[in-house]
């Protein structure tokens, strides 16, 4: 019995890791007032960038691979920042374009890596008899760090201020556009890291459509956890556990597999509806989703 509990927790943590990393990235974006629905694409690009470096040579530097995934994620999100912050485009639609572009470009440019071997994957750590990816540990630490950063540091306060009331922040001399740019690119780096976990640790291979909808779930998770990094840990674990159930019950029950493959997405809808009914939207950053134009209200 103990074994099953440990196994469930370990597997939930594993699937929960990319969800958590991408959610943290989206939280960072959205706390600064910029919605980013494009995490699916950001993850795909990050996964490809990491894999391209790691598969290039048998002794490839994995740190470099991870760094490249974060840079790739940040670069893709720079397009989002340019469109939505500088050129005031609709943030929701830009996120959709980002998701299309990211999955498309990764699928196109990654074609040569399909079936390619990965000489050295990121080794798991053995903690208390269970194999845990270093990415999981990093993700959990990042959740704590981001929570502390947002609630207790001055730059964190500045980031939140441009998300809550950009006009007031502007009056106080905060460069709203710059802060939002940095937050969007920082969030993109975290999304890229989520991708690196998929291609270097979780699957240790490259395939098209690697994120498989995880990026969309991560984006929805942000609303469910009310933009709180620490709550995102619980949310990611919950959905990770759901994926574990799907994996365990497949083929062992009279219920058709399709019910399980649709389950995470149905649950996202249920969870969003519950959050909506509770009026969770009220805890969204007040300036979320709107470009800031000085002098306009």
């Amino acid at each position: 019995m103990d074994n099953i509990v440990v196994e469930a927790l370990v597997r939930a943590l594993a699937v929960g890791t990319p969800l958590l990393l991408a959610s943290l990235g989206a939280i960072m974006n959205e706390r600064s007032g910029v919605v980013n629905l494009g995490m699916e694409g950001v993850m795909a690009v990050g996964a490809l960038a990491a894999f391209a470096v790691a598969a290039s040579a048998p002794d490839a530097n994995l740190w470099l691979a991870v760094l490249m995934s974060m840079l790739a994620g940040a670069a893709l999100c720079a397009l989002h920042a340019l469109a939505t912050i500088t050129l005031r485009a609709n943030q929701f639609v830009s996120g959709l374009a980002l998701a299309l572009l990211g999955t498309g470009a990764a699928g196109l440019l990654g074609k040569r890596f399909e079936g390619a071997p990965l000489f050295n994957k990121v080794p798991d750590w053995t903690l208390g008899g269970a194999n845990i990816s270093p990415f999981t540990v990093v993700a959990l630490l990042l959740a704590v760090v981001l929570a502390f950063f947002l609630s207790a540091t001055r730059p964190g306060l500045t980031l939140r201020s441009v998300g809550e009331n950009p006009a007031a922040a502007d009056v106080l001399g905060v460069n709203v556009g710059l802060v939002r740019w940095l937050a969007v690119m920082g969030g993109g780096a975290l999304g890229g890291l989520a991708g690196a976990f998929l291609s270097l640790s979780y699957r240790s291979a490259w395939s098209d459509n690697m994120a498989g909808g995880l990026g969309w779930i991560a984006v929805a998770l942000v609303i469910f956890v009310a933009w709180e990094p620490l709550r995102a840990v619980a949310g990611a674990l919950f959905f990770g556990f759901l994926y574990y159930l799907q994996f365990r019950l497949q083929g062992h029950s009279p219920i058709p597999t399709e019910v399980f493959s649709a389950m995470p997405f149905v649950l996202v809808l249920v969870v969003l509806a519950l959050a909506g009914r509770r009026g969770q939207a009220g805890s969204a950053p007040a300036g979320l989703g709107r470009a800031y134009v000085r002098g306009e209200r």
Partner: protein, 351 residues
């Protein structure tokens, strides 16, 4: 750099900015093709000569234009009401499911099969979008809900064709039996252009344009979309408008799904074969048309070229079909990023 609002926006300026946005998008795509390792010239010439330069190619463009026109004109209406329906893919699939189910399991006299398929298809698509409209009343963002519903629709189709609806004579394959011959639509000889659906698409595009610009409902829709504050002040029922728009746009996508079943496949089969990404590509059709359903008559064939061209690139240059997503993503990004230039002029230097 500052943006100064123009006193009025002109159609000419909007058209110019749109063309410029598409040109910039094609340039950005060129860079991606160079990184991939093919010459952008080879890509574009392969796409153009294979689609516009050949009769079979034109037919392939035509075939893809049909669902894009139906879905795109519905989405154009939805975007005007600020209802961002990204789930046309799922609505199309549900339309296909309802249409195929009707043809397969409801005994109808021959001539009634095809019309019944379209009616039920619209119902299926509308219902699927209706879920998102209902969720929106619970404060669930429709972009997320319609997207999640895409994945659910995919599971529904897979379940049906591999399970209860699996055909008797298909052995290892997963699809249903053929629908009765009465449900087959006529096509332009030698092609897969099912013209009855094309005519339906043209009628829908023009009808929705009329609805948007000439009817009371269209006026309410535009006010709700452009100025929610004024709409509330005027006592307009914004939630009701959103629901109606969801049903219309979902219904149009459902018609497209019914058309694909009745006109091309004649059975329900895997989701990836019923829709070649029409739901997402139609978003760009609607955005290119800048929210005018009738303009989709021009923009749907344009995106049809890109979809048919994507197939050609697979054959000619061995590129993955994902290239279509690259085109879609980049064009959508440049289009929305260019919108500010329609209403503003740029002044360099500080205020």
């Amino acid at each position: 750099m500052r943006f100064v609002a123009l006193p009025a926006t002109t159609t000419a300026r909007a058209a110019l900015v749109t063309v410029a946005a598409v040109v910039v998008a094609l340039l950005i795509c060129s860079v991606i093709f160079l990184v991939y390792g093919v010459s952008p010239l080879a890509v574009y010439s392969s796409m153009l000569s294979g689609t516009l330069g050949a009769r079979t190619g034109l037919a392939e463009v035509g075939r893809r234009t049909i669902p894009l026109l139906l879905i795109g004109s519905g989405l154009a209406l939805a975007f005007r009401a600020q209802f961002f329906n990204i789930g046309a893919e799922g609505q199309l699939l549900l339309g296909a499911v309802f249409a195929a189910g009707t043809a397969l399991f409801v005994p109808l006299p021959g001539p009634l099969v095809a019309p019944a398929m379209f009616v039920m298809g619209a119902l299926g698509g509308g219902m699927w979008a209706g879920i998102a409209a209902w969720l929106r009343r619970l404060n669930v963002n429709e972009i997320l809900s319609t997207l999640m519903l895409n994945y659910v629709a995919l599971a529904v189709v897979t379940y049906l064709i591999a399970g209860p609806w699996k055909g008797k004579d298909v052995r290892g394959y997963i699809y249903t039996d053929n629908i009765p011959a009465g449900g087959y639509l006529s096509v332009v000889p030698g092609t897969q252009v099912h013209w009855p659906t094309l005519l339906l698409g043209i009628a829908v595009a023009l009808g929705l344009q009329w609805l948007l610009t000439r009817s009371t409902f269209g006026y309410a829709l535009r006010v709700v979309g452009e100025n929610p504050g004024a709409a509330r002040y005027a006592g307009l029922n914004a939630a009701g408008v959103a629901t109606a728009v969801a049903l219309i746009t979902g219904g149009a996508a459902g018609l497209a799904g019914a058309g694909e079943v009745a006109g091309i496949h004649h059975r329900l089969l895997e989701a990836g074969q019923i829709s070649l990404g029409y739901g997402f590509t139609a978003v760009i059709v609607a955005w290119l048309a800048r929210g005018n359903p009738a303009l989709c008559l021009v923009t749907a064939p344009l995106m049809g070229i890109i979809l048919a061209g994507g197939d050609l690139l697979k054959i000619d240059l061995n590129m993955p079909f994902r290239v279509v997503d690259v085109f879609s993503g980049v064009i959508l990004l440049t289009l929305i990023a260019s919108e500010v230039f329609v209403r503003h002029r740029v002044v360099w230097g500080r205020a």
